[in-house]
């Protein structure tokens, strides 16, 4: 689907990156390394500096300073070279109003010099197929739905088989089915050796999609690693577990309250079948909790970590930002 496994070393390397808008520091001396073959998520509340970082990576913006390289190529010095291996999808994914879907893709296939006219047309059809838009081949770009537009721009991003893909909020506006398709597509791209850097302000969405995460806030990196590592690093280790049992609800709740790592057994939902548990233990303890429930003879229908715990991390960060005196970084 995309370029085969890239060269050894990091697909994306950022060192001491800083972006200022006048006195406002959008990105403050961040460093980051993303290996090939990985879907890497960049998450943070609005104004965290994600889009500025992406624009620098995409060679669309000159940083105040810092070093950025993609597949070992200096992105600030060799822009044209970097652009050949880069696929960038901006936030809100605009499309021209005067072109049809195939014309839009054909134009970029032409700009990327993707072979003969026939080869370009085949590649356009292939990319439309990948994003399930073959049926909209001849539709006007501005008549597509939001989700279709996102997918069309994703198809454009895939056209030249980039080694590095940078996708700014690619899932916004997509329905659940499309999100799932997007997730599968990106994971497939990464399996082929490309590196995908994707941003969202919805942490749970990225946690499902990405092999690693990086949380940004006020231009700084707060945590990076796997979802579990990020949670631990942010000091918000409690997670919410949703347990659905078929019977003995009260007895189950009482048993849970006594278990190690359980902080609170808070809510009963779905006709009392669902129990929401605040849990501070690690993954092993979580597994032990499930084993314990089964050993108690409780009929467990479902046992899963809810996404809300991820959201709460970001909500907490956003709320911290709003507190007086803790606003955006200003240096002058």
């Amino acid at each position: 689907m995309t370029g085969k496994a890239g060269p050894q070393g990091a697909a994306i390397e950022i060192r001491d990156l800083r972006v200022d808008y006048g006195d406002f520091v959008a990105v403050s001396d961040i460093s980051l390394s993303v290996p090939f073959g990985e879907v890497y998520g960049l998450v943070g509340p609005n104004g965290a500096g994600k889009t500025s970082t992406f624009k620098v990576l995409a060679t669309l913006m000159e940083p105040t300073y810092g070093e950025v390289s993609l597949a070992g190529i200096d992105a600030l010095e060799n822009k044209e070279e970097v652009r050949c291996i880069l696929g960038y999808m901006p936030d809100l994914a605009p499309v021209p109003s005067d072109l049809k879907a195939w014309e839009f893709l054909e134009f970029y296939a032409d700009a990327y010099a993707l072979g003969s006219s026939k080869e370009r047309s085949e590649r356009v059809a292939e990319c439309l197929e990948i994003v399930s838009l073959s049926g909209e081949h001849n539709s006007w770009c501005n008549q597509l739905s939001r989700g279709q537009t996102q997918r069309l721009v994703l198809a454009k991003t895939l056209l030249h088989r980039p080694q590095v893909m940078i996708l700014d909020e690619p899932a916004s506006g997509l329905d659940p089915l499309s999100r799932r398709e997007l997730r599968h597509s990106l994971q497939a791209i990464a399996r082929e050796g490309a590196s995908v850097l994707v941003s969202s302000h919805i942490l749970s969405e990225l946690a499902e999609m990405c092999s690693s995460l990086c949380v940004m806030n006020q231009g700084k990196i707060m945590a990076a690693g796997t979802a579990t590592e990020v949670r631990r690093e942010l000091g918000r280790s409690e997670r919410k577990l949703a347990i659905v049992v078929l019977d003995r609800h009260e007895e189950t709740a009482s048993w849970l309250e006594g278990e190690e790592g359980v902080l609170e057994v808070a809510e009963f939902k779905s006709n009392g079948q669902q129990i929401i548990v605040s849990f501070a233990g690690d993954d092993t303890q979580q597994a032990a909790l499930l084993t314990g429930l089964v050993q108690q003879g409780i009929a467990v229908k479902a046992f899963e970590e809810t996404s809300s715990s991820f959201e709460e991390i970001l909500v907490g960060i956003a709320e911290d930002n709003r507190k007086p005196g803790e606003g955006a970084t200003r240096v002058h």
Partner: protein, 550 residues
């Protein structure tokens, strides 16, 4: 890159702008108009006793006007509107990312965006070609006319593209591009009538006039040709060049300058439109051209405005001699144009506060002790200083040549005049630069309106309302730095012989306001220096780094 038809951007616009649905109506209207002009003028000619050759020539000028409307007006508006629309829709970032060279992108837009207008233009050409052929217009004349016509079209389109690149709002871009084209290629060329001959070469007018005898019925053409023979070829110091050659050279340099501006923007979106060295180069080029075109015409009197105004309606053999007012007007206009050009260059090369901060931070990070002098974030003061010196020298040279010409036998231009010219450019130029760099665009615009435009308007109203108020009006108008060049010439040129009240008031007002403006400019420069030091100190305070110097 030179295979224009293979340029992806050209092909993209060929697809979107040449759809049958959109093109069909435009094409139909164009053909109807061209046909109407062609047949109407021929039908009117049929009622005279013109020969077939003369009859065939009649539609040529009307068709040229229509073609000018299509390529100069519609296409230029499309350039500005089209590029702004791309920025507005957000798709321009995709184009930035396309692995094409910046030059290929500029060329793509230049020939892609107005592709429909080119087709419409081509649709009118059969009428013109038929008229040229049957009108027996010499091939070299036709090639000369349409060659310069196309070069001018490219120049105008680049102007539109630059306007669209600078302005973010689609509607404003269209208006600005039209305004720029109107001012640059209609208003500014009028300066050629007051001594600044160079400016007429930014239009197709000189070539059109040269070709005119061949574009109209032959009897009429012969008369025009006789008049044309009185007009000398283009002069550049000691060189005599055909008007067409000089027009092409002039426009080609402007095309290169604008192409370079766009190249810079496509190469790096944050760049100033012009680099500091480029701005100096363009400024110097215009000064040399102004002098090179005007100086050789002084001896024969062809640059004096009064000669042009009195040419018509005067009896044959009328003895003409320039008035002292001619010198004031010409030298004042030279100074004014130089000042406006200086301000334009300052706007192009002066960094705003944001850029200065970024520059300092980058320097600090790279452990450099100073900003590179020619870099965008560096102050533009030294460069403005160089332009001021060049401008004052050119202005003084021009004025000296006119004043000391044989027309005013024995008059000597005092050397202090050069000092006054330098003072005018220095106070207005450096004051403007310091204001823009230190206080920003908004404050500068406000000061420009209140201190630059308002005094002229108020003074003019006062002067128009009563003769008694003229001395007061002179003092009020003198507040405006834009009045400086005119006042300077009036105050220092020994030929200036104004009426008593005016003569007494003008020099006093000039020197008073020059001193006042100089003090203000010094204060602004001091304030700018403090501001830059403050930025450097604050940037330094962000970490442990060696001290910075500018």
């Amino acid at each position: 890159m030179w295979k224009i038809w293979a340029n992806p951007i050209v092909r993209r616009y060929a697809r979107s702008r040449l759809r049958a649905r959109g093109l069909g109506v435009s094409l139909l209207i164009t053909l109807m108009l061209a046909g109407f002009l062609f047949f109407l003028s021929r039908a009117m000619g049929d009622r005279t006793d013109l020969s077939l050759v003369d009859l065939a020539r009649i539609p040529l000028i009307a068709l040229l006007v229509l073609q000018g409307l299509i390529l100069f007006v519609l296409a230029t508006g499309q350039m500005a509107g089209g590029i702004t629309a791309e920025a507005d829709e957000g798709v321009i970032d995709y184009q930035r990312l396309a692995p094409m060279t910046p030059l290929a992108k500029v060329v793509g837009y230049l020939f892609g965006l107005p592709i429909r207008e080119y087709v419409l233009f081509l649709a009118t050409m059969p009428f013109s070609l038929w008229s040229l052929w049957r009108g027996e217009v010499p091939l070299e004349i036709a090639l000369q006319l349409y060659g310069v016509f196309m070069i001018a079209a490219v120049l105008y389109h680049l102007t539109g593209l630059v306007a669209g690149t600078v302005v973010k709002n689609r509607r404003w871009a269209f208006l600005l591009s039209m305004g720029m084209v109107f001012i640059l290629y209609t208003v500014v060329p009028q300066a050629s009538k007051i001594g600044l001959v160079y400016f007429k070469y930014v239009t197709i007018e000189p070539v059109f006039r040269e070709c005119l005898p061949h574009l109209i019925p032959r009897d009429l053409g012969a008369g025009v040709q006789t008049l044309r023979n009185l007009v000398p070829p283009a002069r550049f110091f000691d060189l005599d060049l055909p008007q067409a050659v000089f027009t092409v050279v002039t426009q080609a340099v402007l095309i290169l300058a604008m192409g370079f501006m766009l190249w810079r923007r496509w190469y790096r979106a944050e760049s100033h439109l012009m680099g500091k060295v480029g701005a100096i180069g363009l400024f110097a080029w215009v000064q040399v051209m102004l002098l090179g075109n005007a100086l050789p015409l002084i001896a024969e009197g062809a640059v004096f405005p009064s000669r042009m105004w009195r040419r018509w309606g005067s009896p044959w053999g009328y003895e003409w001699a320039p008035d002292p007012e001619d010198v004031v007007i010409m030298a004042g206009a030279y100074g004014l144009v130089t000042l406006f050009m200086l301000w334009t260059m300052i706007v192009l090369i002066t960094p705003n506060r944001d850029r200065q901060i970024r520059g300092w931070r980058r320097a600090r990070k790279l452990e450099k002790k100073r900003l590179a002098v020619g870099s965008d974030p560096a102050t533009s003061i030294p460069w403005v200083g160089i332009m001021i010196l060049m401008g004052a020298a050119g202005w003084f040279w021009f004025t000296k040549e006119v004043v000391e010409s044989d027309w005013f036998g024995g008059t000597v231009m005092p050397i202090q005049g050069g000092g006054a010219f330098l003072l005018v450019l220095a106070t207005a130029g450096l004051g403007f630069q310091a204001l823009l760099e230190g206080k920003g665009v908004r404050a500068t615009s406000l000061c420009g309106i209140l201190g630059g435009v308002a005094p002229i308007l108020v003074g003019t109203v006062l002067a128009a309302s009563s003769e008694k108020l003229i001395p007061l009006a002179i003092w009020i108008i003198g507040i405006s730095p834009a009045a400086g060049p005119i006042y300077a010439t009036g105050a220092v040129i020994p030929l200036a012989d104004f009426e008593g009240e005016l003569m007494r008031g003008l020099p006093r007002a000039f020197w008073f306001w020059q001193v006042a403006t100089a003090l203000l400019a010094l204060d602004l420069i001091w304030s700018l220096r403090r501001s830059r030091e403050e930025i450097a100190e604050k940037t330094l305070g962000e970490g442990d780094h060696p001290p910075l110097e500018e």
